[in-house]
Amino acid sequence: MPDRIARRLMLAVAATLVVGVARAGESYGIGREATPQEIAGWDIDVSPNGAGLPPGRGDVRQGEAIFAAKCAACHGAHGEGKPMDRLVGGIGTLRDKKPVKTVGSFWPYATTLFDYVRRAMPLNAPQSLTPDEVYAVSAYVLFLNGIVPQDTTFDADNLARINMPNRNGFVSADPPPEAAAKP
C-alpha cells in the first residue's frame, strides 16, 4: 500500500518535471501586452460581415478619377486587364471551358475587394490610399461590373451588404476530391 502511494507520488513528480515550465496556465513572461492603441494601427483587415471597415465614404465618380490615375495603367481604363488582372466582366462564365474570373464574376465578397485594395494596391504604393479613396475605387470597380448603380456611395454601413454575383460559388474543400483517386 505505501509502495503504491509512493509510486503514484513519484509519477506525479515525474509528470511535473516533464511538463516543467510549460504547465498549462503558466506563462514564460516573454513579450509584453499589446495596447489597444498599438493594435489599432496594425489591425487593417476587413471581414465579410464588415468588421474592420474604417470610417469614410467614397462614390463611383470619385472612384473613376482615382482609378484613371492610379489603377488603369495596370488594369486597363475600364478594368479590362492587361498587363495585370482583369477586374471586369465574365459574369456567368464560370462553367465555361475558359471561364473569365474577375472581381465581378468570381469574387464572393465586396469586403475582400476593399481589404485587398487597402493593403496591397496600387502595387507601386501600397497602403497609400485613404479610406475614402478605397471606398470610392471599390464602388467604381463594382459599378464597372454592373453590380451597383452609378450613383452609389460606399461607406462602412453598406459595403458589406453588397450581394456579389458569385457569393455562393465557393465550398470548403476538405477532404479534396483527389483524396479518393486510385491508380
Binding site: 509584453r32 483587415d45 465579410p48 472581381v103 469574387w107
Partner: protein
Amino acid sequence: MPPAIPEWQLHPGEEVLSQPYGRPSRFEANVVRRYRHGLPEPPTRLSSFSLTPLQDLSGIITPNGLHYERHHAGTPTIDPLEHRLIVHGMVEKPLIFAMEDLTRFPSVSRVCFLECSGNTQNWGAPNPELTVQDTHGLLSCCEWTGVPLATILAEAGVKPEAKWMLAEGADAAAMTRSIPIEKALDDALLAYAQNGERLRPEQGYPLRLLLPGYEGNANVKWLRRLKLAAEPFQTREETSKYTMLMPDGVARQFNFVMHAKSVITFPSGGQRLGSAGFYEISGLAWSGLGKVARVEVSTDGGASWRDAALQEPVMSKCLTRFRSPWQWDGGPASLASRVIDETGYVQPTREALLKLRDVRSYYHYNAIQNWSVAAGGAVTNAG
C-alpha cells in the same frame, strides 16, 4: 586523359577566408533558380516565382540560395530590430513580441518540404522541352527552426470561440491567409532559421509561418500579425486565388494539404543518357499528410511497377529520396514513379485526376509524372 599532375596541383590554392561566406564552385554556376521555360514572363517580377533546380540536387535538402521563390509584391528588406509580431483578436491577452523575445522561447527544428500549390502544370498536352525544374521546381525542403506556434498562442490564451487565425506578412502585399486553429495548435512553427542560418529574405526574414504539409502560400512570410477569429477572413488569396474552380462552376477553397506526389529527377526532361547499361533512377516523394510509405517505379509506361528503395530517415511532411537500379537496354523507355503515403493515399494518374477536375482548377496538380527516353538517350517530358 587529363595531365598526370593537373594545373591546380602546381601552385597553392585560394587562401582561407578568401570567401567569408562561401559559395559553390564556379563550375556549378549553372545550378541556379530560374523562371519556367515556355511561359511568358509576368508583367512584373515583383509578383512572380522562381524554380528550384531539382535535377541538380542530391538528397533531400534544398540549399538556401536555391529555395524556390514566390512573392506577391517583392522581397522586403526588414530590419529585425524594427520587426514585431502582434497576436490579438480572440485571445485573453494580446501580445507583442520582438525577434529577441521569440528566440528566447523553447525552440524546435524539423525538416519539411514547401510546395507551391501552383507547382506542376501538366493539365494540357505536355511540352516535351520542359525539365523537372520547370514541371516540379516550386518545391523545396529545408530544416526549419523556430518556436512552436502553440507555445505563443498559449501565452496569449486562445478563447474557445476562436476557430481561425489570420496570418499577415510585412511585405508590400501585406499577404494574408486564414489558417484553421487546429493546424495552428498542431505542428505550426514560427520559424526564424533555415538550414542552420537565419531565414533568407526570400523565405521571410526575419520570421515566417511554417505549416508543415500545407500549400506554400499559407506559410506566410515576413510574419507580423496573427489575429484569432471565429470565421475565416475570406482574403483575396483564399477566394480569387488558391481556390480550385471545378467543372460545375463551383470553386473549392481552403485546399491546404499538399497531397502525396513524386517525381523522378534522374533521368528527367532535358537530360541525355549515354551508353546502354546501368543507371540509378532517383527521385523525390512527399506527402502533406505524413510519411511516404512506399514508392514504385516503372520503366515501361506503367505496365509494371517495382518498389524503389527509400533513403532513411523517412520523415513526416518531408521530401524522401528514392532510388531504383535500372539496366537500360538502349531503346525507348517510359519512366514514372508513384507514391503511396502512410495514410494509404495513392498518387493518381493524370487520367484519374482529369476525371475529377481540369486546368480550370489549376492548383494542386499531383499526378504521376512520365519521362520519355528515346533510343539514343534523349529524355523528354511526357506529362
